[in-house]
Symmetry: C2
Subunit: 571 residues, 2 copies
């Protein structure tokens, strides 16, 4: 394994992300620590979540690239310091504290080390996704920003990946910009939906910044802006068979006459004609402005036949309202009738796209997949994807697990909130391929956490005793054929360092390729490694994947618990 050192980036995508994008209490805590000389004490924090989202049993870890960009450029600027000095909450702080803050980036470069799981990794509750080792004060100052940068990206990538699994093999396109939670709620959604397996976005800015393919055709307002055939009367298009410009509408009206269309809307037809002449190679029409089956589809068929006559391949239609299953069948039936009566049009009409884009979510897709009675060929997904309507927040937390070399535990009256103490490593233990897996992919047996100072588990040499961290009776002896470490150092000595054999290679000028590779990594894990029983829809009772711990970590946890948990008294 070789490591590479990457030059300084320009910082996070959103320039408002920086040292001040944090909770005030990080500063007040740091001040209380700084005053008594604790701010530079060595500490270890872990970022993790407690529950998989969407009623599912897995999560895609994302946001690491933005976290690294933050680390590389983290600094309190002069105007930040001036603001902090002016705020009532900090006005009594000693001057030395503001000096400490203004030099924090130097301290980070000297003393901070960050480990993380690779971007796009399938992860599970309680696994440390990011581990921060360094001065206690820096641990505080990074907490909120890192959580913000991981929570939504991981949530959206997970949501997207679930929709992609439900829709497969039908491709999904992200259409959520207008309903997203703010401008970079939208940009993050575009970026991490792509990582989760979406093939394109409608968001042009995301296309430019991240190199994601962009898609889209026209809206209802476009169709409404036409009210008569006159508006498209003079439009010409090169007829590829004759190599001459011909008036397009005339040919369309011939087809309309032959089809006996009496109820189709003239404005709509003019709109389609204008669109076909503007984008003859990509003519996809929105057909539900007036009446899908009585106006939109007959109009589109006339235009598509004409494009076919002219030597172009029409692209298809989009449905944005009504009963999508029924309407898609209506569309397909109309196209099939053309093929049946005019076999020469098979190439043009057999593979027309039928995109659905009205209020689709994971449940809808699951319903479509089970019924398999629709004729849709692509899904455009907006609101439910980008706002993660089914669960709009992932609950990543960030906890102190070691302080001055001693493990720390956070107890709670809620057992699920108890933390696993100490700096840890995670390994994914793989077993032999399933018998029915023709690709012969090793399958993940479980994830195994050890304390960082334990030897890594040996591949295949011997069995490993695994324990459930909280259920004493739950033990397993595992015989893995491979034990792959999931976490590695990503930042050290003021620089981003990522092992070149991970998908997490980080370089500003290859962002598109970084995202594509991360997308492939996600797809590979979900389609080739993890069993469908882990990734399936919530109503089908997906099976939890085990995350277990080494006997040493188990003993550690319970020793600290006994020592720190007060025994409640009852009198």
């Amino acid at each position: 394994m070789t490591t590479t050192t990457i030059p300084t980036s320009n910082g996070p995508t959103n320039p408002l992300v920086g040292a001040l994008l944090t909770d005030l209490y990080q500063l007040t805590m740091t001040y209380a620590h700084w005053r008594i000389g604790k701010a530079d004490d060595p500490a270890v924090f872990e970022l993790f979540f407690r529950k998989n989202p969407f009623g599912g049993e897995y999560t895609i870890f994302c946001g690491l690239d933005e976290c690294l960009k933050l680390l590389e450029t983290f600094q309190f600027r002069d105007d930040d310091i001036a603001y902090l000095k002016s705020t009532p909450a900090l006005k009594d702080c000693e001057d030395g504290f503001f000096e400490y803050l203004s030099k924090i980036h130097v301290t980070m470069a000297q003393h901070l080390r960050v480990s993380a799981v690779a971007e796009g990794t399938v992860v599970f509750p309680k696994e440390p996704l990011i581990t921060i080792e360094g001065p206690l004060g820096i641990g505080h100052l990074l907490e909120t920003t890192l959580l913000n940068l991981v929570n939504f990206p991981s949530l959206i990538a997970t949501n997207a990946s679930r929709m992609v699994l439900r829709a497969a093999p039908i491709p999904c396109i992200e259409f959520g910009l207008r309903r997203a939670q703010g401008p970079d709620g939208a940009l993050s959604a575009s970026k991490y939906s792509y990582v989760g397996g979406f093939v394109a976005t409608s968001n042009v800015q995301a296309g430019k910044i991240f190199g994601i393919p962009i898609a889209g055709t026209h809206a209802h307002s476009y169709v409404q802006s036409f009210s008569s055939l006159d508006e498209a009367a003079g439009l010409t298009l090169v007829n590829k068979t004759t190599q001459t410009k011909e008036v397009f509408l005339d040919a369309v009206l011939e087809h309309r006459k032959r089809q006996h269309c009496t109820t189709t809307n003239d404005g709509e037809l003019a709109a389609f004609v204008a669109y076909a002449c503007a984008f003859p190679n990509a003519c996809l029409c929105l057909v539900d402005t007036y009446d899908t089956l009585h106006s939109g589809i007959p109009n589109f068929v006339c235009v598509a036949k004409t494009l076919d006559d002219f030597g172009y391949v029409p692209k298809g239609v989009r449905l944005d309202s009504g009963d999508l299953v029924a309407l898609s069948k209506g569309c397909k039936a109309a196209f099939d009738r053309v093929v049946a009566s005019e076999p020469l049009r098979t190439a043009a009409f057999r593979n027309l796209t039928i995109v659905a884009s009205n209020d689709i979510n994971e449940a809808t897709l699951q319903g479509f997949q089970l019924a398999q009675q629709h004729c849709l060929t692509a899904f455009g997904i907006g609101t439910n994807l980008v706002t993660c309507q089914a669960q709009p927040a992932l609950g990543c937390v960030y906890k102190l697990v070691e302080y001055k070399g001693e493990p720390r535990i956070k107890l709670s009256e809620e057992l699920n909130k108890v933390t696993l103490p100490g700096r840890k490593n995670i390994y994914r233990l793989y077993g032999k391929p399933d018998k029915d897996d023709t690709n012969g992919n090793p399958r993940p047996l479980l994830d195994y956490m050890t304390l960082a100072d334990e030897d890594p588990p040996q591949d295949g040499d011997e069995s490993i005793l695994c324990r459930d961290p909280f259920r004493h009776q739950h033990r397993l002896r595992v015989f893995p054929i491979a034990a792959i470490p999931l976490n590695s150092v990503v930042y050290e000595s003021g620089r981003v360092v990522i092992a070149a054999n991970t998908t997490g290679l980080y370089k500003d000028d290859v962002v598109p390729s970084y995202l594509s590779r991360t997308q492939k990594y996600v797809t590979k894990q979900l389609s080739e490694e993890f069993h469908e029983s882990v990734t399936r829809y919530k109503d089908l009772d997906p099976i939890p994947y085990d995350v277990m711990v080494s006997p040493k970590l188990y003993d550690h946890l319970h020793e600290l618990w006994e020592k720190n948990a007060p025994v409640p008294e009852r009198r």
Copy 2:
């Protein structure tokens, strides 16, 4: 009414907001229109929503300030044009189109006029919040960005205002940065929660950018970082009564001894002592790290007594887990016991803050209000507020209502999706104060929409006949004492122009004051104008507020409907 012209701003808060933050189809549609000379045709678009969020019966309109900043700085830059030319979807477009785009800001300055409702106005379904009058192409190019800039701000301000109503008179603080949908999901949440009535945010960046008060103390990790009393042993604080520095812990331990605390955690006590010495005037301690009632509260009481001895007023405690009602009573009981046994401590212990911050939402607050059995004095609200968990998207849409001077209608198989045609004005009709309203505030009777070329309704002179736009039988004769226009021109001739008598006065260097004034405007409407029956919690069946139309608009709508809706055929 005087109008002011405001100088050019630096653009939207998030610099990634610009001409490219749009859906691709806006560009493809505009191209299809541009090719046939329609892109410069005069058109009118309206931005509105169809359903109030959160099961409620009102919405707060927000985001206008960012929309105006967008309009002032809207431009396709050279690198934007270069990207568009390079993208496969637009590669066949004629060069003239890209020239058209590169000069679009000049066209906007010449031909675009925008009207809007004032920021912070209580609004209702189908009311035009923003009206765009100008060339058709510009209408397309602004759509997605405006929707993005209005949807989340309005949603979050509405959500916040609902929580504030449920919590009243207890103040609410926004704590959502870590769980928000990305960095400016968080910044928008902080900004518009404040507009909705929240008193402060934990988000330091929001404090700096928007001038919002910031709040916060410490986290569990701070408490965990202390493990013994030695760590706080040497700390001194000036005793205000003796004016000498004294060792704080010694006095605390005296109190602890007297209280017979045997089960409190030493590390926690040390953490509180260090915090008290750092912030003696603002000592608010998180008390649930180990055990709220058996460790956190007794430890806090010892520290608070010592602060009191030293001449400082302790601030209070924060609860972040467990049964908030029961624990708050436990806290209050402990404080009351101090007051009962040591009456001289009344000033310090009678008004201690008890903040709750674990997973609070509108339903929880409603429950608290009904039961009235808790002892909480402030709410810190995060995830449910900032991600609008109960409904994470507002469905604002943007529709063509007039084209080349002719009204346009969008029909749909779903009646709720049919648009009201034509450029419109909205008026809020006020009636006499309710008899039981001691403040004598006029009360809104209903909102009344007219076509823009109708005369405004006359105040008090005569009755007004109002019609429901879709229910023929639903008519009302209204006798208002005032008819206040809700919409006014906000952008014209390339500049932002806002009437000085609205709350919407827009000036970059007074953003804090702009937000405060908007907050006051929201509060006034909800607490003094609209009846509780409109604003109450969903389970209490709030009553829909009427939005009606003039007879002329009604006739217009139905004429267009008859003309454009195809009669479905059945054979």
